[in-house]
Amino acid sequence: MRKPILIILLFFTLLSANAQQKGRIAFASDVCLGKSVSVPSCTPFEWHATGLYQISNRLSVGAGTGVAFYEKTLLPLYADVRYIISKPHFFTSYVECQAGYGFEFSNKANGGVYINPSIGVQHALNDRLALTFSLGYEIQNLERLRTYENEYYKAEFAEKLNHSSISFRIGLVFN
């Protein structure tokens, strides 16, 4: 439990150190619903908070965390790359990829790799705030303990779940 929290604290420390470079830092927050395309299926619901550092007019990199509800509640920690592919319009399109790891803290499950490439659009609400919509493909692996007991034995095995889903995100970017 301690190490992921330390990593998250470190991330926000690094981010706040960089925040002195005003105008290059953005914070994004979004919620995500997924349509599972794997078996066993599980419809994920997620909330993410991401810090982004603008490297150029089009490219931003950052990291984020949040909470993801699958069969188990996961705490994702991921790197994020966002690239704006069109000139600023009413809707400005971008591609994004988040990759990291979803942590699970109970003793009957393990988290796993998290990847979510997506394509989206953002609409500037004002100089400092933009609304985003994106569509992506999410992969989240996790492992959980299964048990069954009867009068003859108790059975246990580790079930590896490889969840894939089409993800729909809506969020806000604070510049």
Partner: protein
Amino acid sequence: MMTFIILSFMGFFSCQDNLVDYESGDVKVCIQQGDEWLHDFPLFLGLKKKNPPQIAVWIEDTDGNYISTVYATYKIATESWQMNGGNRRKEALPCWCYSRGVRYSDGLYLPTKDQPLTDGMTGATPHGSFNVKLTPTDKLKKFVVKVEINHSTDFNDSYPKSAKEGDANYSGGKDGSGQPAVVYAADVDLTSGKKSFEAKLIGHSSPDGTSGKLFTDMSGLTTALNIVKHITVNIQ
């Protein structure tokens, strides 16, 4: 930044716990994948995906009476087939289905979406070797561990896609099994002092899934014989 990356990786790997712990006397059923564990399943436009096999592990007494299912893959346990064209896939694991002996409303011995197998017995199909732990009670001393394994669309010359319903080698049509399920068994005696019991291939199941009969003539089977490499039952 490098420190952050290194710490991240340390964090990732230190958070992986071993979910199943073994103690003295526990029974470990080890299924080791063979060369044909993953099988090409046709999707569309010539695209294929690598599918792992359907598996059931169950226990019988030494007289062949069914005791209980230990493990069954999620798709057959919950009728969650994908792209099966409406086929309930009774040919998938018929030996296990008939041993279990639970007949459902449509006359088949397969669990349904509405009446799936008990949740704790089912798991996502493993993409490689895997183990099941059993902690036996005093009621379980001598028993047989049976494992039935099958790929869908695993056609060969002896079990072709073109076989017609009623033919001896009919296996459910174009979305069916192809080669029938193979069945392994290990006779386990916890009082013997032996620490390892090797499961032997004892036959194949009914190709079309219309009975739970075991067939010992394996001459028509090819790749199905290499789905697993070894199945062993180890006493800890």
